[in-house]
């Protein structure tokens, strides 16, 4: 004797349990998903190598000619930085050619009242005041705000400060210097730029912590899928109430 799903459904109807249909929407296209994971990887490499550039590991023993530790650390930092920057440029391009959700990272409906109301609802949901979150195809307003502030604005800040510092070794007249060298006298001096770049690392690190936590939590507790969405591209809804 076996029970088929149809049997279960019939049983639920009989016992007056509402039928839950699971709907799904294709939200994140493949290039965007690839960008997300490339970005995640490059940020991880950047933060770890950045930490070691500011706080180098214990001294290497033996002759200097036998080692190139800081050289490698800096190489990986700069490589990851180029990947991050190139991916960012691609992401900007994708905002134009991708679907409507691809534009969220660069647009904030700042003047739309309902955005702030929904954002407040989301805050209350995290504060355990609201019983239930709302459903969103793309980012929820709170996530949307954070993405724009940290990934777009923060990312641009990190790229400008980063390339300005990089220009210090490529030298006067290099393209990095011509494009970004103006920042150093604007901020004060090289040390200031370094410190602000370093603060940026911490801001992004804390954001990543929050991002990973809320993604897992929303996946478990909200009414829609989160983590699998960034893998498959499909946003699945756990119920079909509005």
């Amino acid at each position: 004797m076996s029970t088929t799903p149809e049997d279960l459904l019939r049983e639920r109807r009989r016992r007056n349990i509402p039928v839950q249909r699971r709907t799904a929407v294709y939200v994140y296209q493949a290039p965007l998903r690839i960008w997300h994971w490339v970005n995640a990887l490059s940020i991880t490499v950047l933060a770890v190598t950045g930490w070691f550039i500011a706080n180098p590991p214990p001294s290497m023993p033996g002759a200097a000619s036998d080692h190139f530790l800081m050289g490698y650390i800096r190489f990986f930092h700069f490589s990851a930085a180029y990947v991050f920057a190139a991916a960012f440029v691609f992401r900007l391009y994708w905002a134009f050619v991708g679907n409507r959700y691809a534009r969220q990272l660069f647009t904030l409906p700042f003047w739309r009242k309902s955005f702030w109301e929904e954002l407040w609802h989301e805050v209350r949901w995290y504060a355990f005041v609201e019983k239930e979150p709302r459903k969103y195809y793309g980012h929820n307003p709170l996530a949307h705000l954070f993405m724009v502030v940290i990934i777009t604005v923060g990312g641009i800040m990190m790229m400008i400060t980063g390339f300005a510092l990089y220009a210090e070794q490529t030298g006067l007249g290099s393209w990095q210097d011509q494009l970004f060298g103006w920042l150093i006298p604007l901020v004060g001096q090289s040390q200031d730029v370094r410190i602000w770049h370093h603060w940026g690392m911490w801001v992004i690190t804390v954001f990543v912590m929050l991002h990973v936590y809320t993604a897992i939590r929303e996946d478990v507790m909200s009414r829609q899928s989160l983590i699998s969405t960034m893998i498959s591209g499909w946003r699945m809804f756990k119920d079909d109430r509005p």
Partner: protein
């Protein structure tokens, strides 16, 4: 241009006892120091023999005279001798023989006679608070003397970090409002030669370039001559291989310090400081701070007194008077956020469990029919 009676550089030098041989040596040395081809030695010599010398007026504002001390100790005695006679400072109240009204009369005379054709070298800076009374020269605020002399000069050289950035007297809270020259004089080309003090050979090199070629050397965005300030100390540091290898001094008296490893972890500002110390060096090319075992303190950088400890790599950030270190705050923030996430996750799990318990107790737990659920529970 000056009248025909004006002496050339060469004539001045000869009059001061410089031999022809020494003069030619100086020309070759200067060409090398400026990074020019050997053929330029002849051009420099020719220029010096034919061009009437450009007078240099050297003013002193709020300063400690370390620039002058450095300048008169120019590493190669030859250079120092020749340059001192070459520029034949028409006015430098520190080292000139005349004093008082006689000295001030020279200033008056040169600014009129060589109108638009003299170079103004400024050591130190003018304080602007209290109507400039914190620095009095010849009975008047220095800022007035500076403005008067600057009015008809060809160009200004800002000697040292005082004139270039403000230096210690402009450090927070800067009670006298000591102000770098470029913020007081805005209509003249200004060459910044920062450092506390600048290297003697850098000073003489810049002057020689300007006097021989009659033009301003190539400057970077901040107005410093690229030939001496185009690279960081770190870029040419002889300890750089230890940095790349990852070999650092961790303590002032550890084995690494004795072996001469990189001073990065001791807060060396070589990576953020633009100057020629690691190539030109100091005191006759004998040494420079890093070679002597101490990190660079970044004395030629803008506002170096206010940029945190000389002994920290990740220096403190001043936020409305409260100092914060990016690493300390960052680690603390990560810890607090991590703990908050843990607590939030735990509470979320409890809330979820409660929700499920409520859901199991009442099959119609969906909020549409929650009134029934509430009834069941009671």
């Amino acid at each position: 241009m000056p009248t025909a009676t004006t002496e050339t550089f060469y004539e001045v030098m000869r009059r001061q006892g410089i031999t022809r041989r020494s003069f030619i040596k100086f020309c070759s040395l200067t060409a090398t120091a400026l990074g020019l081809a050997p053929s330029f030695a002849g051009k420099i010599a020719h220029a010096m023999e034919t061009k009437p010398r450009t007078p240099v007026l050297w003013l002193h504002g709020l300063e400690c005279t370390c620039c002058s001390e450095s300048f008169i100790r120019s590493a190669h005695p030859l250079v120092s001798d020749v340059v001192l006679s070459m520029i034949s400072l028409d006015y430098d109240d520190l080292i000139m023989a005349s004093a008082g009204h006689q000295a001030e009369a020279i200033l008056e005379e040169i600014t009129h006679k060589y109108k638009g054709n003299y170079i103004l070298a400024v050591e130190g800076n003018p304080p602007l608070e209290q109507e400039g009374m914190s620095c009095i020269i010849a009975g008047r605020p220095f800022v007035e003397q500076l403005q008067e002399v600057a009015k008809d000069c060809k160009a200004i050289i800002s000697w040292g970090s005082c004139a270039s950035w403000g230096c210690v007297q402009a450090a927070r809270p800067n009670p006298t409002r000591a102000t770098p020259v470029h913020e007081v004089i805005r209509d003249k080309p200004i060459i910044k030669v920062p450092g506390c003090p600048p290297i003697a050979e850098v000073m003489t090199g810049v002057l020689t370039y300007m006097l021989t070629f009659e033009r301003i050397p190539e400057l970077d965005r901040q107005g410093r001559p690229v030939m001496f300030y185009g690279q960081r100390i770190h870029d040419k540091c002889y300890r750089r291989p230890h940095f790349d290898a990852g070999q650092f001094v961790e303590d002032w008296d550890d084995e690494a310090a004795r072996k001469g490893y990189c001073l990065y972890k001791m807060g060396c500002k070589g990576p953020t400081t633009y100057n020629a110390c690691s190539t030109v060096r100091w005191n006759n090319g004998v040494s420079f701070p890093i070679q002597s075992g101490h990190g660079c303190i970044g004395c030629s950088e803008d506002g170096f007194w206010d940029k945190g400890s000389f002994y920290q790599h990740t220096t403190d950030t001043h936020v409305f008077g409260v100092e914060a270190n990016a690493d300390k705050v960052g680690l603390a923030a990560a810890g607090v956020v991590g703990a908050a996430i843990g607590a939030h996750a735990a509470y979320s799990a409890i809330a979820l469990a409660r929700h499920k318990v409520a859901g199991n107790a009442d099959p119609t737990a969906d909020r549409k029919s929650s009134h029934a659920g509430a009834g069941d529970q009671q």
